[in-house]
Symmetry: C2
Amino acid sequence: MEVGIVGLGLMGGSLGLALKEEKLISCVSGCDANFAHEQKALELGLVHEILGLDEMKRKCDIIFLAIPVEAIIKITQDLEDVGENTTIIDLGSTKQKIIEAVPAKIRANFIPAHPMAGTEYSGPEAAFKSLYNGAVVVVCDFEESHEMHVKRAVELFSHLGMKIVFMSASEHDHHVGLISHLPHAIAFSLASGVLKEEDRRHIMALGGPTFRGMIRVAKSSPVMWSDIFKQNKQNLIGAINMFKNELSECEKLVRDERWDELYSWMNDARKIREIL
Amino acid sequence: MEVGIVGLGLMGGSLGLALKEEKLISCVSGCDANFAHEQKALELGLVHEILGLDEMKRKCDIIFLAIPVEAIIKITQDLEDVGENTTIIDLGSTKQKIIEAVPAKIRANFIPAHPMAGTEYSGPEAAFKSLYNGAVVVVCDFEESHEMHVKRAVELFSHLGMKIVFMSASEHDHHVGLISHLPHAIAFSLASGVLKEEDRRHIMALGGPTFRGMIRVAKSSPVMWSDIFKQNKQNLIGAINMFKNELSECEKLVRDERWDELYSWMNDARKIREIL
């Protein structure tokens, strides 16, 4: 089986490294809009070869789209002429807008997937083989994909050590709005606010593990994240408002000196320990 | 030199483990309001012996206070009769209210310190030897402490591998309000909100490294943290409001679809990379 990867950054590059280990895959080809990334990916051995999209469409059984979500929407138009046996798997963090943009002709080829994996780093140098191992991958609206392509995707994900969860795209976008996109909005806001309020000396002195852990993802690619906020606008706004209400509740308990209620509120929040 | 530690949880227990390795310290004694914690601390070898506060006052050259900040305020009243050669070091996360509560008679003995170290776990079992190694410790208002006690504290902290930063208590409380206490309020609010909105299945499926990293400190002790919020009320409320404004700015950019400005805002926030 031959695999192509469009986008050779953290997500695509890590996928290349992991797929190269798979016995059933004879060749991993890659391409990237950035020529320097293609060269770096070859140098780091993330893929076997660099191949243009047109050749990839002819050669590969599976094409992964590991690029920012707005770029995924654009590239689906160039994939309309793939053969019916070519599986296309997108790895974007939003799903509804992408599915809406997929040409009807290749909707059966298309597997909308979202691996819950990543770091704050980007580019080919950020890639590492174990990124996907043990991570959840959400597969959306698979009923509209051809069975053959669903099977292929599920087999491949499971061989990479991933835990598959099926969900509708609208459910997915709602839930990741809360559980993934909101935390990114929080991290960017915290980093932004603290940079305005504090000088470098105090941030370095007092930025312990809590602060570092919390602003970690504010180091993520702004291209990738402004695209995601754009595509999941409504869910994100809903999530931000839910969160602001909760934070205001905390503030109110402090302002009104309701210490016993503050304790109970913290103790309830702490129940997250039972889940994660 | 003989050292006493009041409070044998994560902070006190880790300190005991580290001090037992120091050649100049002949004995590390400990006590805890919780009898089971004292037994566990002995069993885990966090301290050499368990000793009541009265005996500790007679025997020890240095007494560390590693208990919640409201309990520190209470216990300072019981320490009023220590000899002038006894150094008292408090490790609380707030400084002004504690300093105000220290009896004038022992203010010279007292070193108000805040090690920027910790994890979300608590109790003696959470203790580990390297907790303080490489961490910043803020020492406040040392001009009011006797030189001999300042020297002792500085030597000890530096021997534990800590990086010492001097700051006034009011500066400290203002800056940690933003850089440490606010992130805790955010973590508790995010955990609380998501627990209300989402079922266990979705949190488990979609709670990737970002979410886990962000709610990590919501697992912290609510006794410890409701006390801290109480003592740093005004600074915390100011920090929450600063943060809510910043998050509202993010929300506004998304709502108004000002994608280029959203990108710039994220790109500015990302400059935190240059510091941490």
